[in-house]
Amino acid sequence: MNKKLTEFSDEELIKEFQDNNTIEAYEILVNRFKDPLTNYVYRFLGDRDICTDIVQDTMIKFYLHKDSYKSFAKFSTWIYTIAGNLARNELKRRKRRTIFSLNNDDEDKKIQIEDTSFVSPERETDSQMKGEIIQKALLKVKPVYREVVILRDIEGLSYEEIAEITDLSIGTVKSRINRGRKHLQELLKYIYSG
């Protein structure tokens, strides 16, 4: 009858961690969410080093403030909220730094895309270029729209979950998603038309 921890749902695992301070439950949750959070933060900020730090900080916050999670909410929305807040703070800090910086060379910022699997060089280059263009286009979209578009179209979350993460109404989420998509469509029209 005893279920393995790996078979537990997210909510069961956090409860286990809260009640019994089971580090294994914490590790399973970290393992489940490290990649989706990394992808989300990376697409939002466009910087791999910073995104790894932010996801680490998210997990540290989760470890320290595990009791602030309430069982009526989904664990995924709670952890996405923490990561989103940290990512937004980072973006604000970067903006301030950009304003005060004398050397603001956007050209120096390179988008890094991981080489995950072997594909033919032609296809690889084509895929990499496409990915870079899309990422650059995403970074040109306003952060308020970018965030919800990433959560919806890249992370595949529901409108309700996004509304909970961003603390917005569902109507606002939908309108923001469509505005973000519209902007992206204008920026990427040469890719999907050609």
């Binding site: 990394t38 895929s127 990915g131 469509n178 469509q185 999907y192």
Partner: protein
């Protein structure tokens, strides 16, 4: 209805949605969990990202600094009215008549302290109906002098300015002629540091003739006071 609208939007942006969903997934570095466990074991809970706090709490000093700068700015803008400051070397000296009126007003204040009455410049005080005796008047004056204290000097000053006082009768013509004679004395002066002969010196201020109307008013006042005192004495004698 609203859902249908958003579904139609999904259809409109299907190319964008497809592009985004096909993006390669980013994953955490292989040493992610190891680094995290090390941090937790070492209890290194300082945040690496934006929430890292500086040791000095700059943000607490920002409002105070802003307030200080704003107040200094306001002070400089509002109170730096250089036109309102008078150059003491360019102040016109007061005219004799103004000084006299000032003295008269100060006398009025002194009088009002004693009698709780205001004396106008042109008023002639006739106290025919008064039941006060000389003694009471003298006592009042003494009390007034004791109450005023240092201000009595001012009273003396006021008295010294005029060639007569309340107790003695004065020949004003004589006093005025004496004054004229006195002003002619010591009018010769020589400039310091020069061997030039002494020259006629008429003082630093413009000299003015005594205001006849003012003298007349004072004269009338004195006469009325004397008359009042005389009348009160007569009344006292009759009463006795």
């Amino acid at each position: 209805m609203k859902n249908e609208l958003y579904n139609s939007y999904d259809e409109e942006y299907k190319n964008v949605i497809k592009l985004l969903s096909e993006l390669p997934r980013e994953s955490a570095p292989p040493n992610f969990e190891y680094n995290l466990s090390v941090r937790i074991k070492n209890r290194n809970f300082d945040l690496n990202s934006s929430e890292k706090k500086s040791l000095f709490p700059w943000r607490y000093f920002v409002p105070a600094t802003g307030a200080v700068i704003a107040s200094v700015f306001v002070f400089l803008v509002l109170f730096n009215d250089s036109d309102s400051l008078e150059n003491p070397f360019q102040i016109q000296p007061k005219l004799r008549s103004e000084i006299k009126s000032d003295l008269f007003s100060s006398k009025k204040i002194l009088g009002s302290i004693g009698n709780n009455q205001q004396i106008n410049e042109n008023d002639v005080v006739l106290k025919e109906d008064t039941k006060q005796t000389d003694k009471s008047i003298i006592e009042k004056e003494e009390n007034l002098a004791s109450n005023i204290g240092p201000k009595s000097e001012l009273k003396d000053e006021v008295k010294a300015d005029f060639p007569f006082n309340d107790n003695n009768s004065t020949n004003l013509d004589e006093a005025l002629s004496e004054r004229r004679l006195n002003t002619k004395i010591d009018r010769r002066a020589s400039l310091a540091g020069r061997n030039a002969p002494s020259s006629f010196f008429n003082g630093f201020y413009i000299r003015e003739e005594v205001d006849k109307e003012y003298v007349e008013a004072q004269k009338a006042k004195l006469d009325s006071l004397k008359k009042a005192i005389k009348m009160s004495r007569i009344k006292d004698k009759i009463a006795q």
